[in-house]
């Protein structure tokens, strides 16, 4: 008997590989300097879902993302790797959503897919690094959740066993379906695209039958609870990080220089 698997993914700016300034002069994020990529931990979530599908024949992997039409790229990459179906949740009214409003929209979209057993998502996205959307979506759905999972150890017809990677060790927990799991990047390395699937999907666009676009009305969301309107937190200000210069002491790479360094460290009780 197959399981219905939903994977939540996000297209993010590649914060590890910034070219140029991260901020524009007007204080907004300079998206142009940041190449858009598949959020790394979401790829691990997709991989975990595909492995569950392989272990439970007849399962379906459905991938959802919320974002502008250009986010179709992460859905195509999901199809290349073996997702059965995808949908792009896109509507101007979702703009400015914080984690609470985002999790509400995702909840509505997940319910639109029909009956589901396991929802997978990355633990956190590298643009915001909040790790809040997973747990908040679980609570909006009213289902169980297991965060910081590195491996799904076992899936049965009605429950799974997962290993949580926490400070200093691992917790092993069991939960009945439906359950939401957030995956870290310590698990199975995500597979690469299948050449045949790339050929099949590479020319598809958002709006094509393979990549449907879901609006606020399509997922039955309440406008008041979406976007900026549905967000309790507000951004007050944003500033670029400037690293402060210290009272830097240059140490010469010589016998004397290194001895002086040791003496300084001993003198202020850092050492000894």
């Amino acid at each position: 008997m197959g399981l219905n698997l939903v994977v939540l993914v996000k297209q993010v700016p590649d914060t590890q590989n910034i070219t140029g300034e991260a901020m524009k002069e007007d204080g907004t994020v300079n998206r142009g300097a940041l190449p858009a990529i598949f959020n790394p931990e979401d790829l691990y979530a997709l991989e975990a879902a595909l492995r569950v599908k392989e272990a439970a024949p007849g399962s379906k992997v459905h991938v959802l993302t919320m974002g502008p039409p250009s986010a179709e790229q992460v859905l195509k990459e999901s199809l290349y790797r073996g997702a059965d179906s995808v949908a792009l949740i896109t509507d101007r009214k979702f703009a400015g959503a914080d984690t609470l409003a985002t999790s509400y929209a995702l909840k509505c979209a997940i319910e639109t897919t029909g009956k589901y057993d396991i929802v997978f998502c990355g633990r956190q996205a590298i643009d915001g690094d909040t790790a809040q959307v997973g747990p908040q979506t679980a609570e909006k759905l009213g289902i169980n959740q297991i965060t910081c999972v590195d491996h799904i150890e076992q899936t049965d017809e009605d429950s799974l066993i997962a290993r949580r990677s926490i400070e200093g060790g691992f917790e092993v927990v069991k939960s009945a379906y439906p359950v939401l799991v957030t995956m870290t990047d310590e698990g199975h390395v995500p597979r690469t695209s299948s050449a045949i699937k790339v050929m099949t999907y590479k020319n598809k666009k958002a709006g094509d039958p393979e990549i449907p676009m879901w609006s606020i009305e399509h997922i039955g969301a309440d406008f008041e609870a979406c976007g900026l309107k549905g967000s309790p937190t507000k951004v007050k200000e944003i500033e670029s990080v400037v690293l402060k210069a210290q009272e830097l002491q240059m140490i010469e790479n010589s016998d004397e220089g290194l001895s002086n360094l040791m003496h300084s460290l001993i003198a202020d009780h850092t050492l000894g």
């Binding site: 984690t99 060790g169 069991k174 002491q249």
Partner: protein
């Protein structure tokens, strides 16, 4: 005026250090609002003396919910307790640690009490004109700092990065109330069943607790060269850290990774060898007391924030330092 709350954490009946760091944050907020600071603890087997330490470190009141079934973290059960206490006492602000449990529990609770939550804050302040909590956190890979507020919803909730501040000096004269909150059966939620705990095998080290850290980056060139760092850290009774680059190359385990995607550390002495200093790494070390940078590139960003910079070949400098340590300094 409603109170400021911190959520203390325990393991096996012992309070975690981060519980005290939160009191440093909370005390400052409570004082600027002229209100009281309370610490909430959920767990089992914590002694009265340990609870008393929370008072000595700045709490005015401690709410303790105790039961053997609360010994290990359960998001569903813990959130039932928090939601009821929040509804009863209506705190102004709740601060929790940005640990694996804090970052799981707080989002869940925020949804249930319908309020905002800001993750992994590094600075907290009160806005003078409104009394709102100003929550500052790094975003976009540490390249920006965003200040967030929750103007119309209460409580205001934030998780705080462990080690981003120091615990307060305990004050033996401080007085406060310890309130044992009676446990209710109805709080228990067994939907997610705890099967067991396994200690990390391999080379796990809790570098967040280290006083001295010797860290290596891409400039270490290969895994074997980390032995030089290990030897130096053994002589100094320190621990070995690494950049994401070094961990991604498989030179050392993830538990050693420092930076936004790893641990934040705040040792007395941090020595970085062959680390250019990406903004993500620097965000994880900036509360260190003394930073020493060893790099042959004079333009390395780590040199710029260091207290002592050695422009030189680490393969020459590290053995020289080792020699001096072994030669009785």
């Amino acid at each position: 005026m409603s109170y400021i709350w911190t959520l203390a954490e325990q393991a096996n009946g012992h309070l975690k250090q981060v519980s005290f760091e939160l009191l440093t944050r909370g005390r400052k907020l409570a004082d600027s609002l002229d209100t009281k600071l309370a610490s909430l603890l959920i767990g089992n087997g914590v002694s009265a003396e340990a609870l008393r330490e929370l008072i000595l470190s700045g709490a005015d009141e401690v709410y303790y919910v105790e039961d053997p079934r609360l010994a290990s973290f359960s998001c569903e059960t813990y959130s039932n307790i928090m939601v009821e206490l929040i509804k009863t006492f209506q705190p102004h602000t709740i601060l929790a640690a940005a640990t694996s449990s804090g970052r799981t529990l707080m989002p869940y609770v925020a949804v249930r009490v319908k309020t905002g939550l800001t993750a992994d804050c590094t600075e907290l302040d009160i806005e003078e004109t409104t009394g709102n909590l100003l929550q500052t956190r790094p975003a976009i890979g540490g390249n920006i700092l965003a200040t967030i507020k929750t103007p119309n919803h209460r409580p205001q909730m934030a998780t705080v990065r462990p080690k981003s501040t120091r615990p307060p000096e305990p004050d033996a004269d401080r007085d406060g109330k310890i309130i044992n909150v009676p446990f209710k059966e109805e709080w228990l939620d067994g939907r997610v069943e705890f099967l067991g705990y396994r200690k990390d095998a391999g080379d796990f080290e809790n570098i967040e607790e280290a006083d001295i850290i010797i860290a290596g980056g891409k400039g270490m060139k290969k895994a074997e060269n980390f032995k030089m760092l290990r030897r130096l850290s053994d002589s100094l009774e320190g621990m070995v850290g690494a950049t994401r680059d070094a961990v991604d190359r498989g030179w050392i385990g993830y538990s050693h990774q420092i930076g936004l995607s790893g641990k934040t550390v705040s040792p007395k002495l941090y020595i970085g060898a062959g680390i250019s200093g990406s903004i993500q790494h620097l965000a994880g070390i900036k509360t260190s007391e003394i930073i020493v940078s060893i790099n042959n590139d004079p333009e390395a960003p780590l040199h710029k924030i260091a207290d002592f910079a050695i422009v030189g070949d680490l393969f020459n400098v590290l053995p020289e330092l080792q020699k001096r340590l072994e030669g009785g300094k």
